[in-house]
Symmetry: C2
Subunit: 230 residues, 2 copies
């Protein structure tokens, strides 16, 4: 089974890649440079590919970044908010239609490399803020990439989202069992020297490790207000 996996370099997608490798898949990893401030995550995706002996491709979408304006992830003029994902303020981190764009390009790559399927690491906890991480969206995209490449890809070609009903805490547990080297994953949206510890994705990362009872080797700039989790 040859799978093209969308890997950002974060803990979800890296765990996805380790899981697929553990299942015996041949892997091609694809990452996207869409002008995100935290593009240092791309180096973490490359390390993941290296560890797993997978091919790694980076799709450069910086030229279309100006067409997808308005997100704090890609605009220097909009600050990345601190706080928990489940807050209205986090909507500013949405890049319009990002997952559909990434999945479509990954599917095009998969067809041209004769791969069997595309995998993305969207997980249960993403649903609240990001509509393009919900099961209904994933089902529609699966259908679109399957029907859209009929006759040019294997009959079973489609999109898989193994973590779509899985919490990030559970992903931390799964990754721990698979031996994912967590220091080789990057979450922080601010893309600084070390993880900020306070943006939505840092908060979520810390909570996941804490709740899973998994030791968190990440260096954070700021400790959590509550003082727990570390």
């Amino acid at each position: 089974m040859h799978t093209v996996a969308v890997v950002s370099g974060g803990m979800d997608s890296v765990t996805l890649a380790y899981k697929l490798a553990n299942d015996g898949d041949d892997l091609t990893l694809i990452s996207f440079d869409y002008g995100q401030r935290h593009r240092k995550e791309l180096a973490f995706a490359a390390t993941c590919a290296e560890r797993l002996g997978a091919t790694h491709e980076i799709a450069d979408l910086t030229s279309i970044n100006r067409l997808l304006a308005g997100s704090s992830l890609t605009s220097d003029e909009i600050e990345v908010p601190d706080g928990h994902y489940a807050e209205e303020s986090m909507k500013i981190t949405v890049v319009p239609n990002r997952n559909a764009i990434m999945i479509s390009i990954a599917a095009g790559l998969a067809v041209s490399r004769n791969a069997d399927r595309v995998a993305v690491g969207v997980h249960g906890g993403d649903h609240f803020i990001y509509p393009d991480c919900r099961p209904g969206f994933a089902e529609a995209m699966d259908k679109a990439v399957s029907l859209g490449n009929e006759g040019f890809a294997p009959d079973h070609f489609g999109l898989i989202t193994p973590f779509i009903e899985v919490s990030k805490t559970e992903i931390a547990r799964i990754g721990d069992e698979l031996g994912v080297p967590w220091v080789e994953t990057w979450s922080c949206y601010k893309g600084g020297e070390v993880h900020c510890g306070t943006c939505g994705t840092c908060v979520e990362r810390r909570e996941a490790f804490h709740d899973a009872g998994v030791s968190d080797p990440t260096e954070y700039l700021a400790s959590l207000e509550s003082g727990d989790g570390q």
Copy 2:
């Protein structure tokens, strides 16, 4: 109604734009530079936008072209075949997952510009060769862009494909009624000085005008073997 229409500069998509303008839509046109040999079509899309007073954006996808290899439309090493679309040989003109990629990016643009919907000009005659021009695919993409942008786009946000059950002959009739300036449209996949007249899309163009009883002002390099149609 603000519609983002994918316009290549060909007769179908230009007719689509004229139809939407005639219906009273505010228009943003988006074209794609994906390294196609016939990228001169982009200038025709720009002219269309100018005529209709629409905003025009070109999404530069040349940087990901190498990831979507294997089509005669983008590779200098593979020749564009002559003949009719309904032939096996035309499969070489397929760019893997092209429409899903274009629709996804157009939808991202639409969300960031607060538009109401995305429109593409795929038509009935495309179904045979291109799986990403079929109704099932279009329905899945409509669902994907609608669900994937829930809360960030108007409730009715989605994809429309007004010509998906319409033949190219009928499009020639519709365009003629709308006063589409046909000399300002480009079809030929070879992208030469004038239309070659013999590649799949040229043959289809000539047949459409002929069968519709619409005068064809296009200059072709070669006349049709059958001698009719011109």
